[in-house]
């Protein structure tokens, strides 16, 4: 079964899976925080679109609700919240430079290959066409972790964390047609609450060490002074 045998909607889901992987890579290379949040919002939009497509193809109407919820939370609400935080903390001009961008990108590509290798046995035992995308969703999770490792700014860590959640959600959609509604609602509100709590934490960190660079957290203030 190759891609030419699928219908256009199914091809579109796979295309969106590819684009979601691309947004993860874009986030990895983006050094400005405002743009990072924008790319994250784009990933939320693409994810919602892919979910809505899956709902249409598989005829699972409850997936429309999770698509709408995802669009509202990850596409609009959380990016807006993060955007406002960046503005109020005066971080919109701060560059969070990566030391070796090419190396990080190649590491990301390696993670993509690794997740394909890991998910190959699962894919080979199922007739489900969307399962091709499970490697991509696993890669989105791993790339989110890589984003958290390579960055210094706390805001970038939160974006990485949220994109890990995006990857898990995508994995649920493509492998089991979404989680039960109650679980999904719970996770959505958890993520929203987490975003609000992170905001409070940002202000706490900023007040105590005068910066959101997490490298400064490991220094003892009395020794440095």
């Amino acid at each position: 079964m190759s891609i030419a045998d699928l219908n256009l909607y199914q091809q579109a889901i796979l295309l969106l899976a590819g684009l979601i992987a691309l947004t993860s890579f874009l986030m990895l290379g983006q050094s400005r925080l405002v743009r990072l949040v924008r790319v994250f919002a784009l990933q939320g939009f693409l994810l919602a679109l892919a979910t809505a497509m899956a709902a249409n193809v598989l005829n699972y109407p409850h997936l429309y609700i999770s698509a709408g919820l995802n669009l509202l939370m990850k596409g609009i609400l959380i990016p807006m919240l993060l955007h406002r935080l960046i503005r109020r903390l005066g971080l919109h001009r701060v560059m969070d430079t990566i030391e070796h961008p090419a190396r990080v990108m190649m590491g990301g590509a390696t993670l993509l290959i690794f997740s394909y290798y890991v998910s190959l046995p699962v894919i080979n035992h199922s007739p489900l066409f969307t399962l091709n995308a499970i490697a991509v969703s696993l890669a989105v999770v791993l790339l989110g972790m890589l984003l958290m490792i390579t960055r210094k700014q706390a805001v970038a860590h939160v974006v990485g964390f949220m994109s890990i959640e995006n990857g898990l959600f995508f994995a649920a959609v493509v492998s089991t047609y979404g989680m039960p509604m109650i679980v999904e609602l719970g996770i959505a509100f958890d993520v929203l609450v987490a975003a609000v709590l992170f905001g409070v934490f940002f202000f706490q960190i900023n007040a105590s060490i005068d910066s959101l660079n997490v490298d400064h957290l490991s220094k003892l203030s009395e020794v440095d002074k």
């Binding site: 030419a4 796979l14 590819g18 290379g29 993509l112 290959i113």
Partner: protein
Amino acid sequence: MSWLLAFLETLLFIAAAPLLAGWIKRVKCRLQNRKSPSVFQPYRNLLKLYDKQPILPHPASWIFPAAPYIVFASTVLSAAIVPLVAVNLPTAHIADMIVLVGFFALSRTFLVLAGMDIGTAFGGMGASREMTISSLAEPSMLMAVFTLAMTAHTTNLSEAINYVHDTGLVLRPSYVFALGGLMMVTVAETGRVPVDNPATHLELTMIHEAMILEYSGRWLALIEWASQIKLMLYGVLIANIFFPWGIAQDFSPASLGLGIVMIAIKLAILAVILALSEVVLAKMRIFRVQEYLSFAYLLSVLGMLSHIILEAARVYR
């Protein structure tokens, strides 16, 4: 008969290249709210240059006068390989995409040698920049080409275009990535705006112009014409590989006519996209070009990976 057609197609290719350059200039002028020169102005420029006597700089060796002919000949040969109006022509079966990349490398090598041959500071600077950019652009172009070759199971351009044409509209993630990568490479390799500015003679920013600064007369005409053909080559590659609909698959006059009209429309649209991007974007610093090209490489690699991960045939047990 088919050889004659192949010959005519190549002639059409090199005759139409200045027209495409004139069209891009016209669109760009309109977008910048300027009065544009006629679309036939590049022809007049070439004719004027051809009438003038070329001047050989004092320290030049045999490479300097030979380079324009080698550059032009290898560009015309690569134009013969790329299907413009019709596929299945005999010239397209002689060589494949890797040979095409090789022809590009040959013409670039001689241009760079000629730039260094006369020993001016600008020539050497332009040559080193050109080599840096092309050594970074070539891998991503090859990766995009290999992505295509993996889906079509051939590196022959004509057969690959046939394959894409016959499978009809398939939304392949790998083609979207390869298209993006190839477009970025096109901009870098033909010296258009974010990487190099074809209209400038400002010393510190030019790349292509710096190498050919000492050329004059018909040698300059040949080099300018070759670079116009090269721009059109990339345009035709993008148009015919990713949107092959309308290309002539037999040699009847009706389908050949349709092929000419379709490729003209496709190139005109691509030229508008190129002019738009040139108006919107500012030229990059030279040290940011490697970031740009590594992004192009990333796109091409993602294209290949998404072909393997998302599209390839799988057997389930």
